[in-house]
Symmetry: C2
Subunit: 293 residues, 2 copies
């Protein structure tokens, strides 16, 4: 692994790859060690998208360890259940391969951190991997990319409220530009609409790939902010589909919430690449705290 | 368990409950036995929604065995990965509880059938359960129920093409009424729009509950039919959120596909109850066979 300092600029290892790096544990096939830093924090835990990407990397490395020639390196579908907040420090990924098929491979992974006496599980996920480079290129879609003002007319996160920035070191790793139409919350005037739109790339210039898409789907501020629910919205479950490998350049992301019920909201994310392709879809169930009356 | 014959009319056990019944295996905590019939078949396997409901029932029974007073009996979120088609015959559900919390409990389950030499895994799922009766009743939503003609103006499945009916014994268990606007495929004139809408209840009159919603999300013909892709669309992954316990009566279901890419479509389902509440949401990734040219 590379020290977290050597992360900016071209030719060095990206912060994102450092944070999601996993090292096979000697003598324990399927077990990978990682180290979470303070650098991808949001609220009282490490960002859920970072954990998802780390979980996917561990599963992919386990497939590769089982078959170095495997082409099943793209997470077609991944579902994660968030159990307890992950904290900076040591983390172990325990991978169990479930099935290796002709066109896809499936595995499950448990992310654990040392606790008092025994390990505490942070996340359990299942994913099916395939080869997005081998698929036929035919695409038909009625989906349309989100309409966003140009990057330079959107709001960068250094304009976000200080209490939000302090709680989200994650934002220093991202170049995130929010559509002003969905950033009313930052000025105390939420729109009341459950939508958040923005441009995203990594601050250190690392280009998007299928793993980075798993970060992108959970990188924007919660739609609940625009609904006037300013508390944190911890993810209970998140499932994502990666439909295509992304082109280099800015990603466009739109997250939509339609229903707040039973103390939960769903957050539906779409990620579009610079060539105008819908490259990832996700939906999560997140807990909301009702506003105090 | 009750014989599958005693299923129609009031006061007897419903076909759906018979098919999804699980019996704890003596001396093996967390293992449940079930028997799949020929009665819920679609294409070359047993319907994915039936398997999902069975998987959820096994997890719920495992929680109840661990704590008979648990109130975590509603699947808030469930994600299933379909590995191989399930066939009529014996099936075992192996449940591993993951975490029991104050407000939610999480488990994983593996559904297996005897194969040549060893068991063959059919499905692996994770789910988080809670108590939908304990949540505060506040609901805000911008979602609107699907507009459907009255039940009596929709198409019942005995009007479906014979080759479809022969391959789907499932349809005899359902009272499914498709919106004629989304049933063009049945007459060889698919609309080209990725949408399927209909009314659903169980043919034997059993009222919907949270487990039956897991059937409902995967009970309509595939949207691919309306896209002019007449082949079967096996599910790779399906995740569902149950947002509310459904009221008695007809369910309204709408399934939407926007993007066909890389040989896959997503199918987004909404289930609305007779009181006009959005009670379940799901998304699945399904494989499509491109039409022959």
């Amino acid at each position: 692994m590379t020290a977290a300092g050597e992360t900016t600029g071209t030719g060095t290892v990206s912060d994102f790859d450092v944070e999601t790096a996993v090292t096979p544990r000697a003598g324990q096939p399927g077990v990978f060690d990682a180290e979470l830093s303070e650098r991808w924090r949001i609220g009282n835990g490490v960002n859920g998208g970072v954990l998802l990407a780390l979980a996917a990397r561990a599963m992919r490395d386990a497939f590769l360890a089982g078959d170095p020639a495997t082409t099943h390196a793209d997470p077609l579908a991944i579902s994660a259940y968030y159990l307890t907040p992950a904290e900076p420090g040591a983390l172990a990924a325990h991978v169990e391969p479930i099935r290796t098929g002709r066109s896809v491979s499936t595995a499950t992974v448990s992310l654990r951190q040392p606790g008092e006496g025994s390990d505490v599980e942070r996340l359990r996920a299942i994913a099916t991997f395939g080869d997005l480079g081998a698929v036929h290129g035919e695409v038909t879609t009625t989906a349309t990319p989100p309409e966003l003002p140009p990057v330079e007319e959107c709001l960068s996160m250094d304009q976000a409220p200080p209490q939000f920035l302090r709680a989200a070191s994650l934002l220093e790793r991202l170049d995130l530009r929010l559509d002003p139409a969905t950033a009313g919350w930052a000025a105390g005037r939420p729109s009341g609409k459950g939508e958040m739109r923005g441009w995203l790339r990594l601050a250190d210039g690392r280009e998007p790939d299928v793993l980075m898409l798993l970060l992108a789907i959970d990188a924007l501020p919660p739609t609940a902010f625009e609904l006037g629910l300013p508390g944190w919205t911890p993810t209970l479950e998140l499932s994502a589909h990666v439909r295509s490998r992304p082109a280099a350049g800015w990603l466009r992301i739109v997250i939509t919430t339609r229903t707040n019920s039973g103390g939960f909201v769903e957050e539906d994310a779409e990620v579009w690449d610079s060539e105008g392709r819908l490259v990832a879809l996700s939906r999560q169930l997140a807990r909301v705290t009702p506003p105090r009356r």
